[in-house]
Amino acid sequence: MGPVTFAVLATALVVSALTVVVHPSPVKSAMALVVTLFLLAVVFVFLGAHMIAALQVIVYAGAIMVLFLFVIMLLNLSDDGAEARHQGGALFRLGAWIGGGVLAVELAALFLRVPFPAPATPPAGYGGAEAVATALFVDYLLPFELTSILLLVAIVGAVVLAQRRAA
């Protein structure tokens, strides 16, 4: 990825990510998040991680964000909530400024002190289907299976909770 490509992509990413936070309309915030996730996938493509890029779009942009939109639309959230969001107390605002300031100083110190390593050349097939599959199903098989059990428990729990409310 050349410096120009990176600059263009990074600018677009930051702008869309800021839009998620700043935009008053929930639907457009969610859409900006979709754009952010999509651009992130583009970054992955430029880094040669095609598999991760595809999964990023399928899972986040294609599935999770659609559910977000679904909820926003069904609850019919309007722009009215936006003002309430900005009406924090003075103490709240002060805290936000201090927290943000500390974070900014820390980031600046990090950038100034830590030297950036030269970009390493990834091994052949890095980020491809084989590499990801080997990592998931050979190297980390047990954690992977445990995660799927955890997800199964979560699904069963959600169904039980929803049914109890219906009855």
């Binding site: 996938a41 095609h50 598999m51 399928i58 942009a61 294609g62 599935a63 659609v66 939109l69």
Partner: protein
């Protein structure tokens, strides 16, 4: 470098024009086909040369007059609509569908001088995942298009549409896993090449022979993704007027319609690539025909490539026509039947297909 860029541009243009033209031709096939199925004369209001010709030019009406009419109509934006999303809705609907074509190979390689051109716009090693990712994004056009117009019918259509598309995407993805296991790759061009082999030297080794159930699941889920009868609940004319694009007019409505037809072409193109030998012509190799029994016929390379591309387009057209036949033959599903079919029939079938395929592959070594 410039030559590469030029070749890439030409390939993209060829594929885009192929997709758009097939879409437009389908509009006519749909009108004429529905007329044939319903035993009436259809698309015949263009008697241009006053009956001199032995046939009438109804096709002119569909291919030229209709698009011009559509794109010059007034664009109405309803009160209370979200102008930005109302504008982008049709784009969001049509862009992912057209982008899918980038991963579909439309021929083998073309050798010009010392340059070997792979007849595929984007040679992705995760081609199938890219296709699924794009089909996942196509939900946004429906959801936002419906929501942005601030109409109850549109919102209902949008919600129905997104639920339907998410449900059938799962069945579609699982249906494809069987094919991925069979060919052992996610690369669509590699899958296309693998189907050039023959079983016992006679039967072309097309995907449908290994994966009949996978094809069936993919086709049903694919038709559901196009949101047409019998799965047209998001549009459901008799209950939601036009569903998620009720409040669109002129070129925007035409774009939504186009994305529906382009989806038919996409489903056909993918079914062709994965299950019907992609651009393969039976027994045709790069240097000509090699019929079973040792009979061979050498052909120049350009002829071979032309035959491959034509065979690809013909297969797509046959599958498109089949989908139009389905659309005009079956009544609409009820919503609970639609969900039952997706979750209780297709999903278990797809899982069984994956299991069966995996067991056979392991046993066969």
């Amino acid at each position: 470098m410039w030559a590469d860029a030029g070749i890439a541009a030409v390939k993209s243009l060829v594929m885009l024009l192929l997709a758009l033209n097939l879409t437009l031709v389908l509009l006519w096939v749909e009108r004429k086909g529905s007329a044939l199925i319903q035993d009436r004369i259809g698309a015949n209001r263009a008697n241009i040369f006053g009956g001199i010709l032995p046939f009438n030019l109804g096709i002119v009406n569909t291919l030229i007059a209709d698009p011009i009419k559509m794109f010059t109509k007034e664009d109405v934006i309803p009160d209370g609509a979200d102008k930005l999303l109302h504008f982008f809705g049709p784009f969001l609907a049509v862009f992912p569908v057209l982008a899918t074509f980038a991963a579909v190979p439309f021929g083998d390689v073309l050798v010009i001088g010392d340059r070997t051109i792979n007849l595929q716009v984007a040679d992705l090693n995760v081609g199938i995942l890219y296709v699924l990712a794009m089909s996942g994004l196509s939900v946004y056009g429906v959801v936002l298009g419906g929501w942005a117009t601030n109409s109850r019918w549109s919102l209902l259509g949008a919600i129905r549409g997104s639920a339907q598309m998410i449900s059938y995407e799962i069945a579609m993805g699982l249906g494809l896993i069987g094919a991925i296991l069979t060919f052992g790759t996610l690369d669509l061009q590699a899958i296309a090449r693998a189907q050039g082999a023959t079983i016992w030297g006679v039967i072309p080794a097309w995907g449908i022979i290994y994966q009949p159930l996978g094809f069936l699941i993919f086709l049903v889920a694919g038709i559901a993704e196009t949101k047409r009868v019998p799965f047209d609940l998001p549009e459901g004319e008799s209950e939601l007027t036009s569903g998620y694009f009720t409040e669109y007019s002129g070129s925007k409505q035409a774009t939504f319609m186009m994305s529906d037809f382009a989806e038919i072409v996409v489903v056909s193109a993918l079914a062709t690539t994965l299950f019907f030998g992609a651009w393969q012509v039976p027994y045709l190799a790069r240097d000509g025909f090699h019929f079973p029994g040792g009979f061979a016929l050498a052909l120049p390379q350009l002829v071979v490539v032309a035959m491959q591309v034509v065979s690809f387009i013909l297969k797509i057209l046959v599958l498109c026509c089949f989908q139009i036949l389905v659309r005009w033959s079956l009544p609409r599903y009820r919503y609970d039947q639609l969900m039952d079919l997706g979750w209780k029939t297709l999903l278990p079938l797809a899982l069984a297909n994956v299991l069966l395929t995996a067991v056979i592959i392991v046993l066969a070594g």
